[in-house]
Every structure is written in structure tokens, then in C-alpha cells.
Symmetry: D3
Subunit: 306 residues, 6 copies
């Protein structure tokens, strides 16, 4: 698909989820590089930067998107002189982008494998929202015969919990749907909480679907371990330089129809921040770490962008 | 209304709320006593006991219902011989029942008055579900010019939060509706949490709408005081003798239509238990106490029933 | 048995356990009153006081012993003039002592009944040492089909855990013996901790077999409720006036033979103090209370002794 | 001294301290009653009410002052008809006032005695500000040979810590003065914290000299017990009905000379509120209680005033 | 000694302790390499792998054993072609193994030196079980005149505490033996807890002798620092990839003779896991770190094995 | 200025503050290198070492001083043979020293920039003492329109808070001065705490002006984030090898005039240690990290000194 189309898809939320938008953007840039017709390296570079900007504007606060673009366009952000030809650059970009995509795919497999080992035999686990990384861990652990049941929260306002329970039920994994308010009531019966992440800050804070932080708090109160499954491209280099992860506020109509509630304000934050102290481990494709060790992974991607 | 009709109303949930069902039952028993035609005191007594049993069966775990019936029929549970006439008994029951109803009404006013004093000037407060006692406190504090804004949770699955925000908006109280998952995200901006109670156990645990305990946990983490507004008839004498407050499990269809989710289990607990350590004060019509002092109030109502 | 013999038995530890020594002392005093031959009321009173002192000296820090003696000799500690005859006094003492003994017996039954209601269906519970009150609760809950398994600590140095596991195994209750160090390793699998008490202080602190406080701490960390089963005569009136509950230090040979460990000191405290914040409820024969409500029960027994 | 003079003394802070102002007011009312010349009982009553109002206005938020006045004028707040003569009333007021004064004196002795028993042999204790009740406990414990050293905070802005260290040094008690910021640095070396109280709320919160709550927090973090020494007349009946204890804001010049700091605001709260969870025991003349049991003592004094 | 003999010794527990088994295995492999007679490099490699497997099977979950073998056989796990001769390989293995042994020895000295600096003058410290690394720290601190007394737990079921107290008493270090249940009773008198580690996971969790985690919990509650002394070869690379550290369950007869307890189950876990939040520092030969920084050390050893 | 003069200035405290003394020392060494007249490289090296020692002796426990000297004299601490000429060395030292000074200046700017991004719109923040790094963050955030008000503690005994409030008032930043005891009273109104650091230990503990740790504790209790602003040269390499950061005890006369307080001891610690768990982030010029990641920064500077 073209950059145009992908940008449109991300904007309209038909493409969503931290990993999926990163991968879509990387794919679009690779495609763009392949299709580019000109023969002036500087013009090509400028064109790619423009594409990058267009993609970035669709979700300017999405760290994974930034990291996917950074990884793909690394050849033109480094100290390259004008001696490069269009072909050189094209090849470099295609390689970098495909490496990113391949790594992302393998990352998910490694996370599933590593994370599943952390689940104990006979576990009942809770998950929130609809994270591909988290569900991969759970499904792999189920394949190994370790999961007895999954509790999934509804995850208002979008109710992505419905997607989650359907996916798990299809795989014959015993699953119980609960409302978001019932988390603390059931948490003592859990052996682990497994969630994904939208962004991980350099001090280890985990930004994820709103509600994650109170589940982690409840789990922590009850000594239930909290496992966060996240590819390394979810670590935010910007937070190293102080950027606060902006909590997106989405359409109020997702909560109720404002017209039916005259005089009532509505707040609809999409994410919240879970402090590192409530997270036992972050499961990445490079290994399982304490959230307090996030610094190293965040530092790896550069922070400059076109 | 007749005992019959009231029992029907409670069963079908058209009459609901811990205080309202207690008052409806007391009123029905008073009416029944007024209308009784016979002249045999023992038969009258037996008749009233039967009415009590019928009312009790509508919500067998509702402490306030039990306490309202106990209070009204106290004359026939005490050590009364057969020397009493129907008239004596009738008068005693009417008096006891009306006293209960009058007290309940005044209790609400006292709670509103006492509780409103605990709210500081310029407060932003959070509430959960749709508690008459809690909202009375908030409204009285607003009248006194102390409330800046109220955050109200949606309170899934029934969304009683919708009732709450409408009631507050009608009274021109600035109010913001949030989903249940967003509590921890906003809790640091709150000056107090004000909730009601369904039942208070003899060790001070507060049984209330599911979700209350995780709000209290979040508030406690952020040093935001938690105020529970509850009439003394919400204190459970049975818990003194070890009764666990049963957490009612309600119709699964309130969460989702089970038919649309084949292979998915649903759990729908109505209440949860908040440990006394997360509650700063209980506001009763007899004064403001530490939840750890609940024992005395629970001990006051007898535990025997017809 | 005579006061002499009972005093001997308590001293030599052949009679031990907070409840048992109280009952033995009360019984001995009743017997003594029955057998007294003289006819001078003042002499009789003096004689009984002497017996009380002798009994008290056997375990001067045992609160239940004090309370048992107080309860039995209440007639002579109150404002009685010399107008009483020996017969009057004898009758009063026998009545008071028998009431204490009868109450103690019924207390155990009530505690078992009340406490068993607090245990949830399918529970795995942990107990420590060998408390009659705690085991009564567990056994009653097992009879009701609620207990799946009991974990019992060894309870070094005396290993009273051996008595506990044998008693439970005889009743066909599934039981697992663990060393004291393994408590935190298993605590997450528990649904409740049930222990007894030697003494309860006026601020709600629970003095019990050494190790109880770290079990309670572990349980508290994991949100596992801690239930303390204790007759009201275990509440210490002296702590109201500031008495610290003395932690008895027992024979070092119970830990190791000191001769085999030259140059090594040994410490052997018998009890430790669990702060009220780590105790969910105290189960007494008068009802289930927050430990913070201990004041009332402690205040009930007078603090003066002969 | 006359009511006039005492009111003056309290206003000007030459008489201060929660206990001292209560006693001065009670003494002044007794004196006033003695000196009253008229013979109309209603006029006398009205006169005494006027005196009470004058005294109350000097420190309208001081609970001990209110309680001292209430205790002394109890005869005219009760249900007395006009049949009383001036002599009857005078006698009743003098008796009530003298009883209050006598009780206050004995209360201090009991608190010293009870509290000193709670101090372990060889203790190092910390105190804050300059509380008569707290220092009585410490001095009595020192007399018994239990105190090794006292750490006293400076207690800015007034530096009442200077009074404390001088008083203790005079009694040859080893004492170390530290700045208020050094509390946490030293708290691990302490065996107890002993402080007084200005007011105790019905839910057990302790209002005392600003800084008390952070000392209690530090002590709690380090498992050092916090003992609050307070006569029962420091318990606030008004808090039962929701009154928030108002935190007096005093003269900014006590912090710095505002003229030397143009553009700088200054805040000077006199008290702060320590939550009951950070207080181990309250030592009163009626016994040692959990702060959560404060309700009973607060309920004892009526809440109506002239 | 031969690989055979060492494997036997580890199996039978005559060689035990995380460091000792690693060193024994490294020594055996060095010896084996020295003695090898053949001249085919590939056969030699295969032979060494076989030895490694034999050694590994003796304690398949022991991380230090794996790391010792990995370190010694690094030459054959790396990317070596067939161009190497037996002599080349032999030399490389001997060098690698001797380096490991030399490092292990020096590691202990560094740990003792670094750790002893963390002990404050006049300290009373607690230790658990019988860790060479922990005792080295304590003894070095004692040499420097900083230790006043050591409290050592019995460490049931094996009572390795007996070895500890004897070793310390021989060195004239004042030492007190306590039962495992008495830890919380004494913890407030401690200035530090010093323990060893069997394994350290990549998120900083410390696996050590059962009981360690509840000592750390008690210390944490009382703000007593917990120091873990551990060579870097105790860090588990496998945990990076999700391996849960398996908690070995040992012979039940170590707890009681099962035959004497018919109908009684016994559980005998050897280790437990202390969460990183309860550990102040890990003292390694490469410096003192937060447990949350464990990732780096765990990553250093490769995870592949023959 | 000469080494002599700078050493004098540091000793007499006319030059103070962790950053300022490091910079003064580096500057003096650069100057010294520039002025050196001889032509024997070994003598030159020896001379510079002597200068370093003189500077170090002025504040032997100041980590930043050590690190500044280390950074400047790096050329002579590395493995340099005698082949170097005086000119070579001079040039290397000047370069190293100027790089350190330039870095220090730029570090402050980066910290201000990074830290200011962490402050939310409309924030009220608290600071303690008079840290250049912390104030730079606050002032930059104010420039960006994010700060509503600053609360500054007095910071007894030196009252550096006076410097802070004057500096902020000059920049028209609304500022409120409070006594050190009032921190917990106001902490709930804060959106962040921003402080500097004197030294950061390898496990993440922050050594700073006495009182910092109790502010951090209060903030932590109220879920208010604690930001520590510190250049990387404040990280202590010595703590890696176990050095305890010595808490300087300063002149008692800073607290009170000891002569006016006969029989009273005074303690005057300058710093205290804040555990890493109470610090949300450390803002360095290299990025924002969890305190638990301190190890890496501490390891960067060598630990050997002339």
C-alpha cells in the first residue's frame, strides 16, 4: 500500500495497535523506496523525509510509529554525504525496513516463548484490553498446558475485551469476561497478570490502555506478579530527554452520546501510566528485564527525526 | 401498598437501594398492622411474622432490609407474653415502624450535614454508582459552596453513574463522567472520594457496589480520603456472628448477551468488600467514626429474626 | 484437684495453653471453696486470696490465668462488707467459678461456629503452633465441607505443629507440614490464616507463639486475611494501664544443647507481638471484631487483684 | 483571676497549651461563680453563659477549651428548670469545675504512669514540640531507669524544642537537639516516639503541632511505635458531627520578617493531622487505646454549647 | 579429582553450595582437559561436552554450576572451526577454567572488602543459612571492628545455622542463635541483614535458602537494609529468556520421618524467591548494584550449552 | 585563581555546592597546567598529583570534587609511558579540564530542558534547600508557562531556602516559604517535588541536604513524583566498591549556641540518604533514568585517584 493509504488507515484507526501501526509504516516506506522513480539522491532523501512526516502526523504521540520510521530511514538520518546514489539509498532503506519487519515478527515469537516460560503450571491469569504481545504469551503458555483459565476485562469504552475473549474462545482457552470494576474482587484468584504496552518510558513507566495502572496496583496489593509483554520498539527514546508521554484524549462519544447528557462533562483518556514499581518484569525479544532497566533499551534508538 | 406489592417491587428491582427497600418494607408492615382485622393477639403476631418472612425472601442477603423489619417488629420479638391485646401490639408496631421511617429520613439529613462539613472548600470529589447517602453529602457540600466538581464513574454493568450525573447536572453541579478504568488516572486530582454502602460488617469492612474497593485502594495510594456515607441500619449484626456478607452474582446478560459470546464465561458480582484500612471515616447519623469502631453499631440490632 | 496440685501442674507445664491454665485455676478455686471448713468469713476471704496468689505465681505474666482467677473471686474483690457469712461467700464463689468454666466451654463452641462461617468454600488455610480455639474453627469449617487443606508450621522450638498435624490427620483433614521458614513461599496459595492468641492488648496487638507476627506480615503482604480466634478472657486489662505484655524467655536448651555450642549465645523468646493492622478480625464468643475494638473487651475485667 | 484577665491571657498567648487553657478557663468560671452577687438564678445562668462565650472567643477552635467550659458549666446546660436557686447553681458549678481541675491533674499523673510502662528498658525516644503530657511520660520513664536518651526536634517556627531540651537537661536526662529536617535520618535509632495532642478527632486522627504527622510517617516506615499522650478532654465531640478540625494559620512573622522578603508568600500552619494508622496507642487517663477507638471518648462530652 | 568423582560428590551433596559446586566442576573439567590423551580435536571437543553434560545432570537447576561450566568450556562453544588442534583447545580450556577459578577466589575477597565497607560501626547484623559470601562480608567487617554481634537463624530443616554459629564463634565473633520464627521479633535491633544467593534472576529476584524472602520482608518493614553477597556467576542468563528458577523440593525426611506421621503430607522447598524491591544492594566482585540492574550481569554469560 | 586560593575557598565554604566546587577545582587545575614552568614530564605529573591531593583534602567526602579532578587529570591516570612531554601532557590536561567545564555548563542546560518537559501544565512544585540544577529545571518550566507556584522549605539550619525564595521572587515566580515541618501538611497540593543531589550512590540512593529523604517519603505517600536533578559527575564510583557515603556532621553552632544550652547535646548532620524507591526519576544531562539504573553512570568514572 502507498504511504498515502497507510497514513489514511492509521488516522482513521482502521490500522491500530502500537505494533501494527509501526509495521504498516515501515512497510509503506519500503514500498515507497522501491517505487521511487527519480535519480537525484538528495531529492530522494527529501521525498522519504516527507513521507515520514506524513506518517508521523497521523499519530504524533505514538512511540512505536516513530521507532518504526526511525529504524527504516536510519540510512538517511546517519552521517551520509551526497556521494550516495539513489540505488545505494534505496537498497539501504529496503534492507533496514525489511530488517525491522522481520525483527518485529520474530520479536513476537520470542516474547511468546520467553513469557510463556514465566507462567506457572495451572495458572489463572488476567489480561486487559487486546494486546497481541500479551495474548501471544498466554496462548503459548496454554499450548504448553500451563493455563487453566483467563480472566479478561471488558476494557471500556471500546470494549476490546470482546475481541480478546472471542480470540481466546476460538482457541478453546477457558476464558471469563468481567467488567473493569471487578478486577480487585477477583485478583486474589489470579496467578499472574499479563498485559501489553503502548509505550515504555526511560524510567520504566508503562503507558498502556487506561485501567492498566489500577490492575497493576490491585495485583501488587495481592502479590500477584505483573508481566508486561513489549517489543523493544515500544521503548521511548524521547522520554530520555524528558518528554512526557502524552495521554491521548479521545472522542467523548465513545463513553456516552453527549447530547443525551446535557450539562455533563465527559473525560476519555485512552492510556494511563503504570509506575515501574508495580511491574515485575518486562518481557522483550531481547530478554526479560526489570522495568528499572528500561533506560538501556530506550537509549538504543536515536531521538532525532526528520 | 400491601406487603404483597412491596415484596413484588423489591423482587423485581423496581424498588432497590439498601435504604429504599428497608423503608418500603417497614412501611408495608406498618400498613399491614393498621389493616389487620382479627382480634387474637397470637394470630396477629403469627401473621406479622409471615409478612416479615415474605419480605425477607425477596432479598435474603440484604442487611438493611433485615434491620428495617427487625426495627418495626421489635415489639413481637421481645419477651412479650400473651397478655397483650391486638390493639396493644398494633400500636407498638405502628410506633416502632414509624419511628424507623422517621429516623431513616432524619438520618439522611444528619449524614448530609455531618458529611458536608468534612468536605474542604474548593474540593473536587469522586463518587461511584448512585448512592443516595453519598449524593446527599455532596449536594449539601455544594450548597455550602465547597464543591468545585464531581467525577462520577460509569459504574458498569448497570451504569448507575448515568443516574448520578443526570441528578447532579440538574442541580447545576459541575460533573464529569468517566469510565471505571479511568479512576486511578484521575485520582490525584481529587480531594475526597464519597461513596455509600450496602452493608457494613462488624470489623468495619464496607460492602458496596463492585468497584468501590479498587477506588478506595487508588485513593489510599494517593492519600485521598475515602468517606463512606451510611445509615446505622446498614451495619450488619449477622457479621458479628461470623456471617460472611454474600456477594450476590447477578444476571450475566447485564454484562453481554451470552449468546453472542459462545464459549465465553461471564462473571457478574454485584458488590465487593473494601477493607476498613482503606476507609477514613464512616459518616452515620449518630456521628462520624473510624470503620474500626463498627462493632458497636453492628451490635445494636439484635440478630434473631422470626 | 487441689490448688496445690494445680499450681504444681501449671508450673511444670504439664498444664499449659492460655485457656487450659485459666480453667484449671478456676476449677481449683471452686474446689477449694467447696472444701473450706472454717466459719469466719474474713478468714475464708483471706484464705482464698492466698490460694489466688499461689496460682498467680506459677505464671505471673499469663493474662488468661489472671482473668480466670479474677472472674472466680469477683465476689471477694467487690465492695463486700463483713456481713457476709462463709456460706454466702462460698456460694457466690462457686457460682462465679462455675459460670466462668461454663462460659469458657461455650465460648469455644461459639468461636468455632462464628469463625467457621468466615471460611470460604474450598479454602486452603494456614495455622501456626497448636491453638485449641484456632483448630476448633478449622475443624468446624471442615465439617461444613469448606476446608480443602490445612498448612501447619512446625513451630520450632517445641514443634507443637506436630501435635496439630496429628490432630488434624486423625480427623481426616488433609494437612501439610512445613518448616517455619517456608511460610512466605506458600502464603499466596492460602485463603486464610487462622491462629490463636495468648494475650490481646488493649490497643489490639495480639501476643501469640513466636512466629505469628511474621506469618501475619506475610499474609498481609499477599492480601490473605488473618483470623485470630480468642476467648474474651485473653484480653488483658493490665495493658489498658500501660503494662507491656512481657515476652517470656524460655529454656535455651529447647533450641540446642548449649554445651555443644561453646561461645554461642541463644535467644528463645516464646511469644511475639502482632500489630493490629495485620489482623483482619478477632473471633470471640461475643462476636467478631476489628482488633482496634479490643479496648472494650479489655476494659471489662477489673485490673485489681488480691 | 477574673474571666476578663484569663480571656486576655489566652488571647495574648501568655496562657497556652491545650491543657493549660482548659484549666485556666475552668478556674476562672469557678471563681466567677464564687464571686457572683445577684440572687436571680436565671440572671446568674445568663451571666455564666456570657462568661463562657467570652472565654470561647479567645481560641474558638480549641477543643480542650470548649471541653473544659462544658465540663464546668454542665449544671446549666442540662435540663434544669427555674426552680434552682443561685446557691444551688453556684454550688453545682463550683463542684463541677473543681472536679474538672482535679481530674485534669490526676489525668496527667495517670498518663505519666501508664505511658512510662510502655517504654522499654534502655530506650532512646524522640519527642516534638513541648507537650506536658508527653514529657510527663518521658520523665516518669526516666525515673524508672528506662530512658537512655531523648531526641528533641527544634520545632520551628517557635522553637518550643528549646523549652523541651532545657526542661529535660535540668532533670539530668540526656537529650539531643536536632533540626526538624533530621527526623528521618535518626529515626532508626529510636525505640519510640512520644508526642502530645492538641485535639483528637472522632475517627482517631491526631491534630498536633505541625510536623507531628511527618515524624509519625517516618516512625511508621521504620516500625518505631508512636505513642500519643492526651487527656480525654482533648477528644473533640464536634468531629463526631463532621466538624473538620481547623488548622490555625498564625502570624507569618514567626517564619521570617515578610518585609525582608518582598514578593515571597509565607504559609504558617500551626498544626497538622496525623492519620490514626500511624499512631500505635493513645495514652489517656482512662487507659491506653487504639486511636481507632477514639469515637467513644469523643462521644462522651456533649456537643451543645451556650 | 575426576569428572566422575566430582559429579558423584555433587549428586550426593558432599559437595554443595552454589559457589563450591561451580568451582569443583570447573576444576574437574580443567583436570579432564589436562589428562586427555587423544589427538582428534573434534573428538576432544565431543568428550568435553559429554563431561559437561554429566556434571550438569547432577544439579540441573543450579545456575552457578552451569555458569562455571560455560566459563570453562567457552573455547568450544564459540565459533571455532576444525582448524584447532587438541593442544590449542586444551590450552584454551585450561586457561579459561583457571581464570574462572582464580576469579572466583578473588571475587570472594572483593565481595568481602566491598561488603564490609557497607557495614556501619557498631552494627548488629542478621544472617540466614550458611553462605560463604555473606560470612566473608561479616568476618571482614568484624576484623575492621564494625560488628558488635551477629544473629544467625537455625535454618531448618538442615540447620545450617549450626555451621554458621560455630564458624563465627571460632573467630570470636559474638553470635546469637535463634529459631527461624523469631526473626521479626528481633529485626528491629538489627542494623543490616546479610545473606548469600543461590541464583539471581534477570529482573533482580534473589533465589536463596527458603526463609530468605520472609527475613527480607521483615527487614523491609523495619527499614533495615538487606545486603545480598553474590559472585557474578550466580546471575542466571536463562532467566533472561524466561526460565523460571525452579524451586527444588527435597527429601521429606529432612522435615520429619514421614512414617511417624501417617496421613500427613510434608512439603520441603529448598529455596524461595525474594523480590528485588526488598533487597537494597547486591554486592558482587564487580561492584555494588541495585538488584534492578541485574539484567546486565545476567546477560554476560551466554545461554547456550552443549 | 590558583590551586592554593581555590582550595582555601572550598575549605572556608565561600565556594560551595556540589557542582561549583567541582568546577572550581577543574578550573584551578587547568590554570595550574597552563602556568607550569618545568620541562620534566614526570615532575609535572607529580606536581599535578600534589595539586589534586591538596584540592581533595578540602572536602574529602565530596564526590563531585573527586570526579571533577579525575576528569581533568585523566591524562595522567591512564597508562601513559614516560615518552610524553610536558607539552603533550599540558595540552591533554587543558583539553580534559575544559571539556569537563564545558560539559558541566551544557549539562545544566540539558537538565533544565529535559526536566522542564517532565513538569505538567499548571503545576505547583516543592523544592528543598538551594540546588542550582533543581532551580534550573523549575525556572525553565516557568518560562514555558507550566509552573503556577513553588513551595520552598526554609531548610534549617542554614536556611538556604531564603536564597531560593529570593532567587525565584526576582524572576517573578510565585513562591511560598514554609518551615521544614510543614512539608507533609502541604504535599497533597503539589504536582511534583524537584530537588538536587550531592551524591548518587551506585544502587541509586540519593544523598542530599538533610530533610530530602523525609520530603521524598511524604511525596511517595501521596503519589507525588520526586524528580532529582543531577549532573552525571554527582554519581559516586566509590560506592560501587562499597564506600558508604559519609554524612558530614557540621558545626553545632549552626543549630543553636551550645553555650546557651548547658547539658544539651546537639546533632547536625548535613545530608541524608533517600532510598531509590522514593525517587521517580533522576534527570541527568545524558537522559532521564530510573534511580535503579545509577550503576552505569557510577561505573563510568574510574575509582583510582592520585
Amino acid at each position: 500500500m502507498t504511504v498515502e493509504a497507510i497514513a489514511e488507515g492509521i488516522s482513521s484507526m482502521s490500522i491500530r495497535g502500537a505494533a501494527r501501526i509501526a509495521e504498516a509504516a515501515a512497510g509503506a516506506l519500503v514500498q515507497e523506496a522501491k517505487n521511487y522513480k527519480g535519480d537525484n539522491a538528495l531529492e530522494f532523501e527529501e521525498h522519504m523525509r516527507k513521507c515520514a512526516r506524513k506518517l508521523l502526523q497521523t499519530r504524533p504521540t505514538a512511540v512505536s510509529l516513530k521507532n518504526g520510521i526511525r529504524a527504516t530511514l536510519k540510512p538517511i538520518f546517519g552521517p551520509m554525504g551526497g556521494e550516495w546514489t539513489v540505488e545505494d539509498l534505496r537498497k539501504a532503506i529496503i534492507e533496514a525496513g525489511e530488517a525491522f519487519l522481520e525483527n518485529a515478527k520474530r520479536a513476537l515469537e520470542s516474547i511468546a516463548e520467553y513469557g510463556s516460560k514465566r507462567i506457572k503450571q495451572g495458572s489463572v491469569v488476567m489480561t486487559h484490553c487486546n494486546s497481541n504481545a500479551a495474548l501471544s504469551v498466554i496462548e503459548k503458555a496454554f499450548e504448553k498446558g500451563k493455563i487453566e483459565r483467563v480472566f479478561a476485562t471488558e476494557s471500556r469504552p471500546w470494549r476490546q475485551g470482546h475481541l480478546t475473549v472471542r480470540r481466546l474462545a476460538l482457541k478453546k482457552i477457558p476464558v471469563t469476561l468481567i467488567v473493569d470494576s471487578a478486577v480487585r474482587h477477583f485478583i486474589n484468584e489470579m496467578d499472574a497478570v499479563v498485559v501489553g504496552a503502548d509505550t515504555i518510558a526511560s524510567n520504566g513507566a508503562v503507558i498502556n490502555k487506561v485501567g492498566t495502572s489500577q490492575i497493576a496496583l490491585c495485583a501488587n496489593e495481592a502479590r500477584v506478579p505483573v508481566l508486561v509483554a513489549a517489543e523493544t520498539f515500544k521503548f521511548s527514546p524521547g522520554t530520555l530527554e524528558g518528554e512526557l508521554v502524552e495521554i491521548e484524549e479521545r472522542d467523548l462519544g465513545e463513553v456516552v452520546d453527549p447530547k443525551e447528557f446535557p450539562g455533563v462533562d465527559i473525560a476519555n483518556p485512552v492510556f494511563d501510566a503504570t509506575p515501574p514499581d508495580y511491574v515485575d518484569v518486562i518481557i522483550t525479544e531481547r530478554g526479560i528485564i526489570s522495568p528499572h532497566a528500561a533506560y538501556q533499551f530506550a537509549a538504543e534508538f536515536g531521538t532525532d527525526l526528520p
